[in-house]
């Protein structure tokens, strides 16, 4: 390797050499679909689902490049210190080079991505996209992300907040410019000069980080330095200690994230007014779904066996050598997720209540509530509210823990394959649903046979549960008595839920066995039961 530039290019490029190849293959395969399926002369109506299907890999690659070239994959984003890798500070190159080469490599990668995306837009999608400015926009977003990622901060967590605010501002300015139909030349003239400015800023922040500058603006933490730690009472059990460990590591992220995001959603009631009941309900539904969606993000760290170790997938020896059973380790994660869910919903409900109350939108909900009570009666209204709240809590909790059975295996190939499989499923979902929606025959067939879908899912779930129970029993991870008790508890919850459904909505239109199928599908079983097997496989490799 002749130069530092080549070394940087190799470090970034060599492990990711498959990306342009994969995008190229995807593009060619995508282009061949049309003539193969519809004949060469046929035209294809490009619906939203189809476009989404085509563009998802490019969006993911863009986000991946942002993470890679800002070193965001390796650093602690919330830390006050720069996340620029300290190992590079000792290289015999200037700070300008340390800042410049990752920026140049990122610029090249983004250019490559935009060229491929532009080719995809021309063929096979036949979309009329602008030629230059989106590519420049991608480079500018990366450059500023690099600056804000590499900068040392005075407060923990400030990096994420600053980066989000600056990037949202940049996005908003560009959207406004598009809205006011600015020319491509004007947009490029607005964006391109930011690249050298970002480079100069990057040189400054890397130089500061290289000198070890880490400001501390937290007067409370400074006051605590030198202060003796207060003795605390011992944990009453190792299970309690492990729950504390999990809570400190993962439990607080979700309530904090929800507390940061929800006020902006509820604030839309003040900004735009709540002109209609429909608008109020849209905001309410969005607010109620926010904890579940946020849980999807935090689940990535909850299900990771070890977020801090060099081997990012295996269980750390610190945890693996504790004299505690694998089931107890899983139980601690489940309990932490439960406390995190409860804390999140206390925060969420409080913020929703305050927002709706201050904006006056609570009157709309109150009127609707009174109408609902007169329609179904007070007992049914209470049960409906309890089941809805229970469903939201369960949904949040499940979102946090449903990935444990994959993440805790510690097998990189399995985790990545599962991630890619889900991505493909989501990508395919758009075109499939669109095709079904457009086809009367498909809709008719679905209407006549829809009951088979929950039935098939129940068969799959119960088969998987039996297989996992056998393996748990054979491996000795859980005793047969505990397995039987778990199965009995699960069955009891299913029957209570089934009873509630039947009591609430007993109607000749819907068969009772449908309620049973829904109850079986609603109560988690397989993914939770598989988690101890996954961790055991990881802990004793």
């Amino acid at each position: 390797m002749q130069s530092s530039a080549a070394a940087f290019a190799w470090e970034f490029g060599w492990p990711r050499r498959w990306i342009p190849v994969a995008l190229g293959v995807y593009l060619v395969a995508h282009g061949l679909l049309k003539p193969l399926l519809l004949g060469s002369g046929a035209t294809l109506d490009l619906g939203d689902g189809y476009i989404a299907f085509a563009l998802v890999p490019f969006s993911f690659t863009f986000m991946y490049f942002i993470a890679v070239f800002s070193f965001g994959l390796n650093g602690d984003l919330a830390a006050r210190q720069s996340i620029y890798p300290a190992r590079l500070f000792t290289l015999p190159v200037s700070s300008a080079e340390l800042a410049g080469w990752p920026m140049a490599c990122g610029l090249a990668a983004m250019s490559m991505l935009w060229v491929i995306a532009r080719i995809a837009a021309l063929w096979p999608l036949r979309l009329d996209l602008p030629i230059v400015w989106p590519g420049v926009m991608m480079a500018v977003v990366l450059a500023w992300t690099q600056v804000f990622m590499w900068m040392p901060y005075g407060f923990r967590g400030l990096r994420v907040a600053v980066a989000v605010i600056v990037l949202i501002t940049l996005d908003t300015l560009v959207i406004l410019a598009i809205n006011y139909k600015m020319s491509e030349t004007a947009l490029v003239a607005f964006l391109a000069p930011q690249l050298p400015v970002a480079y100069l800023c990057a040189c400054l922040v890397v130089a500061r980080a290289r000198r070890g500058v880490v400001p501390d603006w937290n007067v409370f933490s400074r006051a605590r330095v030198g202060e003796a730690a207060k003795p605390r009472s011992p944990f009453r059990s190792m299970a309690a200690a492990q729950v504390w460990f999990e809570w400190r590591r993962n439990g607080r992220s979700l309530p904090v994230m929800v507390a940061l995001v929800l006020p902006f959603e509820v604030a839309t009631l003040f900004i735009t007014g709540f002109g209609s009941t429909a608008y109020v309900f849209k905001v309410l539904i969005a607010a109620l779904l926010t904890p579940i969606l946020m849980a999807g993000f935090t689940a990535a760290t909850v299900s990771k066996a070890n977020p801090f170790a060099r081997d990012a997938y295996g269980v750390t020896p610190f945890t693996a050598t504790k004299p505690i059973t694998t089931v107890a380790l899983i139980a601690a994660k489940l309990r932490m997720a439960m406390w995190s869910t409860l804390a999140t919903w206390i925060v969420a409900l409080a913020l929703i209540a305050i927002g709706f109350s201050w904006s006056g939108a609570d009157s709309v909900l109150s009127e609707w509530g009174q109408w609902f009570v007169t329609k179904v009666g007070m007992p049914r209204a209470i049960v409906a509210a309890a089941v809805t709240l229970g469903g939201l809590l369960l949904g949040t909790w499940m979102m946090l823990v449903q990935g444990l059975f994959v993440g805790l295996t510690g097998r990189e190939w399995l985790i990545k394959t599962t991630g890619i499989a889900w991505l493909v499923i989501f990508m395919a979902l758009g075109p499939i649903l669109e095709a079904i929606w457009d086809s009367t025959a498909a809709l008719r067939w679905l209407w006549n046979n829809w009951i088979f879908f929950p039935a098939i899912l129940v068969v799959l779930k119960m088969t998987a549960a039996i297989v996992i129970a056998k393996r748990l029993s054979r491996s000795g991870v859980i005793g047969d008595g505990a397995l039987a008790a778990g199965a009995a508890s699960w069955a009891a919850i299913v029957f209570v839920l089934y009873g509630a459904f039947v009591w609430w909505a007993d109607t000749p239109v819907l068969p009772r066995y449908l309620f049973l199928l829904i109850a079986i599908l609603a109560v988690p079983l397989v993914r939770i039961a598989a988690a101890p097997l996954a961790l055991n496989w990881n802990r004793h490799r």
Binding site: R224, G226, E227, A228, A229, P231, R232, P234, F235, S237, M238, A240, A241, W244, F245, R248, R249, F308, A309, R310, T316, P317, F318, A320, T321, K322, P323, I324, T325, T326, G476, R539, H540, R541
Partner: protein, 279 residues
């Protein structure tokens, strides 16, 4: 930290003391009865253990038996299989072929029973950075019934660890001391140290770690430590096991090794057996 008198640092004194116990029935030497059962039940018993990582053979038909009591040094060049062997003993790796027994138990099938009697200092320095030292102690004590608060505090002061300091702010050596503290504070029957020298500074190694190991051994407990610093092994170990490319090339009491090699140093013996300079 009380230092063990130099004249008591050799296993032959244990034999001597055992002899005295029979003669004088000294109550305070009752713990040395463990030494009698050493032959009957080894602390670690490994038979025909093999392990591959892809094409690489990490362990090749390893047989090893460690009686109770004493300090056992596991030496070998980098990548020789020391950590792989230790991970099998801890149950972190499952035997592909052969068997591993610790205290007569399978560490994979019965991890709680085995791990509750082992103290382990990892080479990886993997203590959670977000914990404070006092939180680490509070968390760790929940897992061990024999946790000795007074001893933990004594060790904390000996190691000069600030209880309010976060682990991530500690130096590499301080992190190793914190790891050693939580590995020692419950007086484990078996102490496993994976390359302790790589993290600890020379003063701690010479004055504290050596004394701690000798104290543990003199109490009838067992220490297994891996190292590539042969002079250090020579100073502390009673028994040395040399490993090369996953195969045990020698396992014998240090005195016997030296006697059979005309009093040469362990470093010279290692080079002659393993064929590489140990750095």
């Amino acid at each position: 930290m009380p230092k063990v008198p130099r004249h008591l640092r050799h296993p032959r004194h244990l034999r001597h003391l055992r002899h005295l116990r029979h003669l004088r029935h000294l109550r305070h030497l009752r713990h040395l009865r463990h030494y009698d059962s050493a032959v009957a039940e080894p602390v670690i018993s490994i038979a025909n253990l093999s392990r591959r990582f892809g094409e690489k053979i990490a362990l090749n038909s390893v047989d090893l038996s460690m009686p109770r009591g004493g300090v056992y040094g596991l030496v070998g060049a980098n990548g020789a299989g020391k950590t792989t062997l230790i991970k099998h003993i801890l149950g972190l790796l499952q035997a592909e072929s052969g068997s591993v027994r610790v205290f007569g138990l399978d560490p994979v099938a019965e991890p709680v029973a085995v791990l509750s009697r082992i103290g382990y200092l990892s080479e990886e320095n993997d203590l959670p950075g977000w914990m404070r030292v006092d939180e680490l102690i509070r968390y760790s004590r929940a897992f061990y019934k024999n946790w000795d608060d007074a001893y933990a505090e004594e060790l904390r002061q000996s190691f000069a660890l600030d209880p309010a300091a976060k682990i991530k702010t500690l130096s590499k050596g301080q992190k190793s001391r914190a790891g050693l503290l939580v590995a020692l504070a419950y007086r484990p029957e078996l102490l496993v140290l994976d390359e302790p020298s790589s993290g600890l500074d020379p003063i701690v190694r010479r004055d504290i770690l050596g004394a701690v190991m000798r104290t543990i051994a003199d109490e009838g407990r067992t220490v297994l430590f891996s190292s590539h610093l042969l002079d250090e092994v020579e100073q502390v170990a009673d028994h040395v096991t040399m490993i090369r490319q996953g195969t045990i090339v020698m396992s014998a009491p240090l005195d016997d090794i030296k006697a059979s090699h005309n009093g040469r140093t362990l470093d010279e013996i290692f080079v002659s057996l393993v064929g590489v300079t140990n750095t």
